[in-house]
C-alpha cells in the first residue's frame, strides 16, 4: 500500500517524521483528509488536531497554526507548536491555560496580548485533543 511521509517541524525541532497511510488536518476552511497520491497542494492549517493513520492505528497530535505542503508522497507541516497526544501533560496544559487566562485580565500591550492569546490557544488545543482521546 502506498504511504505518505508525514513531517511536522517547528522552529525549535522536528517533532514527527513517519510513513503514514492517511493524515487528517485541521485546514483553515475545515478538516481535510489526505491520502497518498494527493494532488500537490499548499495550504494553511488552524490550531487543532492531526490524525495520522499508521499501521492501521490512529495517532493523534495537537498542532498550532501554520502552513502545509502536500505532494503525492509527502505532507510537510510548518507550525509553531506540535505535540503528540500521548505526551500532553494535562495538568500542565490546564495550568498554562489558567495562567494565560489570568494574564489576559491584566492590562497588556497589543504584542503581549497576542503572545498570551497564542499561548492560550496552544494549551486549549492540547487540552481538547487530550480530553477527546479519553472519552
Amino acid at each position: 500500500m502506498a504511504t505518505l511521509k508525514l513531517e511536522i517541524v517547528t522552529p525549535e525541532a522536528k517533532i514527527y517524521s513517519q510513513e503514514v497511510e492517511m493524515v487528517t488536518l485541521p485546514g483553515v476552511d475545515g478538516e481535510m483528509g489526505i491520502y497518498p497520491m494527493h494532488i500537490p497542494l499548499m495550504t494553511q492549517v488552524a490550531a487543532g488536531e492531526i490524525t495520522a493513520r499508521h499501521g492501521g492505528k490512529d495517532h493523534f497530535l495537537a498542532i498550532g497554526d501554520g502552513f502545509v505542503e502536500i505532494t503525492g508522497e509527502r505532507v510537510a507541516i510548518l507550525t509553531d507548536m506540535a505535540i503528540k497526544a500521548d505526551d500532553i501533560d494535562e495538568a500542565r496544559a490546564e495550568e498554562a491555560r489558567k495562567r494565560a487566562e489570568a494574564r489576559l485580565q491584566e492590562k497588556l500591550t497589543d504584542e503581549e496580548q497576542a503572545t498570551v492569546q497564542a499561548a492560550l490557544v496552544h494549551s486549549l488545543t492540547q487540552l481538547n485533543v487530550k480530553r477527546r482521546r479519553r472519552s
Binding site: P11, E12, L41, M42, Q44, E69, A114, T115
Partner: protein, 293 residues
C-alpha cells in the same frame, strides 16, 4: 622593591581571578553548545519554509504585498542585536561600530539586548523599542521583535529596516554583519544555521505545480510575515551562539593570562626569597667573623 608578603598577596588575588574566569569559560562553552544545537534543530524548518515560499511565490505570479513595497528611504530603522552582558571580547564594540555608521537624524534603533540600548542612550540616538531575549531565544521573542518592526514599516514610520547582528562563523570567528530586512528584496534561501556559510540559493527551483487553498496570494501574504519572524529568530540564534563563543574565547584568554602572571610572580617571589636568605646568611657570617677576630 616589594616585599615577599606583597607578592604573595598579589599571587593569591590573581589566582582568585583565574578561578572565576575559568568557571565563566566552562559556563560559556556549555551554553555555546546548547546554542549551536538549537540552531541545528531549526534547520529542517528553514529548509521546509524555503520550499513552501518558493512554491508559493511561483504560484502567486504578479504579487504585491505591503512588506515588499520599495520606497525612497527617509527614515530607517535598525534592529541592533547585542548581548545583555559584557566580558565577551570585542563582540559588542564591533557591532556598535557598525551601528554608529548610520546617520543620526534618519535612523531609529530597535534594540535586542541591553548593551545596544545603553549605547543608544549614551550616543543620544533615537530608540524606538527595546527587547530582551533569553539564552536560548524563543520563537515568541523573535515574533515580538519582528512584529514591531513590521508595524513600523507598514504604517510608514520607517521606509527600510536593517539588522545589525553577529554572524556565527565558527567558535573562533564571529563577524558583525548588516542585512536588509525590509522591504523584502528578493526572497532568498535562509542560510543554514550553524555553519553560517551564508549560502544564498535563489528560489524558483521547485518545479511542481501546486494547488493553493484558499489562494496563492493569500497563502503567500500570510507566509511573508511569518518568514520575517523566522528570520529574526535565526538572527537571534546566530547572535547568541556568537556571544557565547566570544565569551568563551575571551575567558580562556583571561585564564591563560592569569596563569602567566602567576608564573612570573612566583618566579619573582622565589628570587626575592632567596636574595633575603643570602643577605641574612651574609650578615650572620660577617657578624661571626667580626666577633671571632
Amino acid at each position: 622593591m616589594p616585599s615577599t608578603r606583597d607578592i604573595r598577596r598579589r599571587i593569591k588575588s590573581v589566582k582568585n581571578t583565574a578561578q572565576i574566569t575559568r568557571a565563566m569559560q566552562m559556563v560559556a562553552s556549555a551554553k555555546m553548545r546548547k546554542a549551536q544545537l538549537a540552531a541545528l534543530a531549526g534547520r529542517p524548518y528553514a529548509v521546509l519554509m524555503n520550499e513552501v515560499l518558493a512554491a508559493a511565490s511561483e504560484g502567486a505570479g504578479e504579487f504585491t504585498h505591503p512588506l515588499l513595497e520599495k520606497r525612497a528611504v527617509r527614515k530607517r530603522a535598525v534592529l541592533l542585536i547585542t548581548s545583555d552582558k559584557g566580558l565577551c571580547g570585542a563582540l559588542n564594540t564591533n557591532l556598535l561600530r557598525e551601528a554608529a555608521k548610520y546617520t543620526k537624524d534618519a535612523t531609529v534603533f530597535v534594540c535586542a539586548g541591553k548593551k545596544g540600548a545603553q549605547w543608544v542612550s549614551r550616543a543620544k540616538r533615537e530608540l524606538a523599542a527595546e527587547f530582551s531575549y533569553k539564552d536560548t531565544p524563543l520563537f515568541a521573542e523573535a515574533r515580538a521583535i519582528s512584529k514591531s518592526v513590521q508595524q513600523m514599516f507598514i504604517d510608514g514610520t520607517v521606509d527600510a529596516v536593517d539588522v545589525v547582528f553577529t554572524n556565527f562563523i565558527s567558535t573562533l570567528n564571529q563577524k558583525s554583519e548588516v542585512r536588509q530586512l525590509l522591504p523584502i528584496q528578493e526572497i532568498q534561501a535562509l542560510e543554514a544555521g550553524v555553519d553560517g556559510e551564508g549560502q544564498t540559493r535563489k528560489l524558483g527551483e521547485a518545479s511542481r505545480e501546486y494547488l493553493f487553498e484558499p489562494g496563492a496570494a493569500t497563502v503567500l501574504g500570510n507566509l511573508l510575515p511569518h518568514y520575517l519572524n523566522y528570520q529574526v529568530y535565526q538572527f537571534l540564534q546566530e547572535a547568541k551562539a556568537s556571544e557565547q563563543s566570544a565569551r568563551m574565547v575571551a575567558m580562556k584568554n583571561a585564564t591563560d593570562n592569569a596563569k602567566q602572571i602567576i608564573k612570573d610572580l612566583t618566579l619573582e617571589y622565589n628570587k626575592l626569597r632567596q636574595a633575603n636568605i643570602t643577605k641574612e646568611l651574609l650578615e650572620i657570617t660577617s657578624a661571626a667573623m667580626a666577633m671571632g677576630t
